[in-house]
Amino acid sequence: MKRKMGEVLSTCIPIAIDNCNTDLIIPARYLASTTRDPKFFGEAFMRDLRYDADGEPISDFVMNQPDYCEQPHEGVHEIIVAGQNWGSGSSREHAAWAIAGYGVRVVISSSFADIHRNNLLNCFVLPVVVSPAFQQELFESIAAVPQNKVKVDLPTQTVTNLATGHSEHFDINGYKKYCLMNGLDDIDFLLETLPLPSKFVSE
């Protein structure tokens, strides 16, 4: 899942659920796996909202609707526009694996839960925080024309709704931006800092 990110220009999947917790993003029964297979987790993404107990698609859930059911690929559904407080609850990184495994590269919301936000970044999925007004505008533009695209440009930290031409700046610290743009992860950075200063002694 390690990849370099620059600009993502794509149609979006609108998941307008506020406080969507990581139990909903991936139910606990998929957590017992020891695999790292992105496909396994991608298939479990929003599982219990997508499928009923018999494994039949739930037709009125957004990801099963004709406009949004296509699996993400370049320019298509690589962006999720989500309700506020996205990813609350459990720390399970499996939720970020599910999002990345499904093929999503950017999640846009007005707010993210802290642990999930870090997990997304560690999985090379960009969490973009926008104002509630901009989030609402995105939902409306997508509902009006699902083929409308949104552009997320990491180098300039700008998100643009192409339907209206409106843009917003988003925050990301310089360190993490550099990591995402160059496909670097934190563990390599930390290994470079070893051995630790003698002040931090072993037990």
Partner: protein, 464 residues
């Protein structure tokens, strides 16, 4: 003059390895806990890189999520079994202390850590589990992390974290009789919402918190994450020291005396400034239950679910969809409603005090025939204490069975699943859709409320 600092600042500052320019802080971690669910892929990362664990002595692992509570000879589900076996194998390979399933050291990490004195004041503690906030009750920075971060700590004993803002929540006064730490937490979630403390590290203070037992404090800190806060600290005091003294891994003799002297410095300076500070009256906190599918959707037991008119217009659709799942109606009173299951346990309320409270209510009475009850100690130590104190006999006489230590019915990862459509009154931490099993309906409450209702068979306040 030295700048006034909060408790959080003092611990954080002592663990800063470096502040990265325009980036996060590299923070030293004293204690990493691992369980079977969020660690296997982290160990794989170490293997990929051909590296070992940097400070194996500071890592402690135990399975808890997949553990069955009826027998612990074997896990019947092959996927769950493999995960537990993988943890054991990883611990052997990397030289990590491992408390195996079914042994006297095992239990839920967030119960075992404090009770063994592995979590101590002033520490930085992390685990791939959001309820790691629990350990903050001893006066530590304890945070849930993801699996990539577990790998980072295994590899370097450090983590990269942006420093959160600080918030102090004061609970002043005396709780009404029958209100517990759990009710305080449920009250706070309803007041602050499930994202009200996102971006903050919370410190709990005030006379009501000071007078809580250690078990109560652990319950309160445990639920910090349900307001969005990754950490919930309580300054250590005599209650903390009395709880920790003599614990298996706590310092002994002279080292103990020295440690206590240091720990006494762990408090927020009187003029320390928090980014946010709120105060609530303990007298306002009555015994509570939830009605929706997030822990913030709660009421006092004698209140009704809000009517549609009482809910802001923008929130009505989601309010109604929560009630639809719960099969409740706006304005409905839940007191007196029949329940199908009760669950006493989890890292929230699986400690000895919770079992004492439950037993005090059911003593000399009988479990209602319509109720299936799961009483699951948080650790083998708690279970032994229950037996030593004769609580198991009280429970048995009242028609309850004591099960084996496990995360059990808190999350549907072991055989203890609440069937679809059934209503469970639970001391656990989350009432999310499907949390206790696909289609299961969860109401969160305190051990006292759960005990009273287990006897009456309907949602009932415990009157003292």
């Amino acid at each position: 003059m030295k700048q006034a600092r909060t408790l959080f600042d003092k611990i954080w500052d002592a663990h800063v390895v470096q502040d990265i320019e325009d980036g996060p802080t590299q923070l030293y971690i004293d204690r990493l806990y691992c369980h079977e669910v969020t660690s296997p892929q982290a160990f794989d990362t170490l293997r990929d890189k051909g590296i070992g664990v940097y400070r194996p002595d500071q890592v402690v692992a135990m399975p808890d999520h997949n553990t069955p509570s009826d027998q612990q000879q074997c896990i019947n589900d092959p996927v769950g079994r493999k995960q537990v076996e993988t943890l054991q194998r990883n611990c052997e390979e990397f030289g990590i202390k491992h408390f195996a399933m079914g042994t006297k050291d095992n239990g839920i990490i967030h119960v075992v850590g404090p009770e063994k004195g592995l979590s101590l004041p002033g520490m930085t503690i992390v685990c791939g589990d959001s309820h790691t906030s629990t350990h903050g009750a001893v006066g530590a920075i304890a945070m849930g992390i993801g699996t990539s971060e577990v790998a980072q700590v295994l590899a370097s004993q450090c983590i990269l974290q942006a420093k959160p803002k600080t918030m102090r929540i004061n609970i002043e006064g005396t709780l009404p009789a029958g209100s517990t730490a759990k009710d305080v937490a449920l009250y706070l979630m309803a007041q602050m919402t499930t994202s009200g403390a996102t971006g903050y590290a919370v410190e709990y203070a005030g006379s009501a918190v000071r007078s809580m037992s250690m078990e109560g404090r652990l319950t309160l800190s445990n639920l910090s994450i349900e307001m969005g806060s990754r950490a919930g600290l309580i300054a250590p005091d005599e209650t903390t020291f009395a709880y920790l003294k003599g614990r298996e891994y706590a310092p002994k003799g002279k080292a103990w005396d020295e440690a206590v002297e240091q720990w006494k410095q762990l408090y927020s300076d009187p003029d320390a400034v928090f980014d946010k500070e709120v105060t609530y009256r303990a007298e306002d906190i009555k015994p509570r239950i939830t009605y929706g599918t997030n822990p913030g959707a709660g009421i006092a037991i004698d209140e009704c679910i809000p009517t549609l008119e009482e809910v802001p217009e923008t929130e009505r659709q989601q309010f109604l969809s929560q009630l639809e799942y719960m099969q409740f109606k706006p304005g409905q009173k839940l007191e007196g409603l029949p329940i199908d299951y009760v669950f006493l346990g989890a890292c929230t309320n699986g400690r000895i005090e919770d079992f004492r409270a439950f037993a005090s209510v059911v003593k000399g009475r009988k479990k209602a025939p319509n109720v299936v009850a799961w009483l699951v100690p948080g650790s083998w130590k708690v279970r032994q204490q229950i037996i030593d104190e004769g609580i198991d006999k009280v429970l048995e006489d009242a028609g309850f069975e004591l099960r084996l230590p496990s995360c059990s019915a808190c999350l549907a990862m072991n055989p203890d699943k609440v069937p679809a459509g059934k209503l469970c009154l639970s001391t656990s931490n989350r009432n999310f859709i499907g949390r206790q099993g696909p289609g299961a309906r969860t109401i969160l409450a305190s051990p006292l409320t759960v005990a009273e209702s287990a006897v009456t068979g309907v949602i009932t306040r415990h009157s003292v």
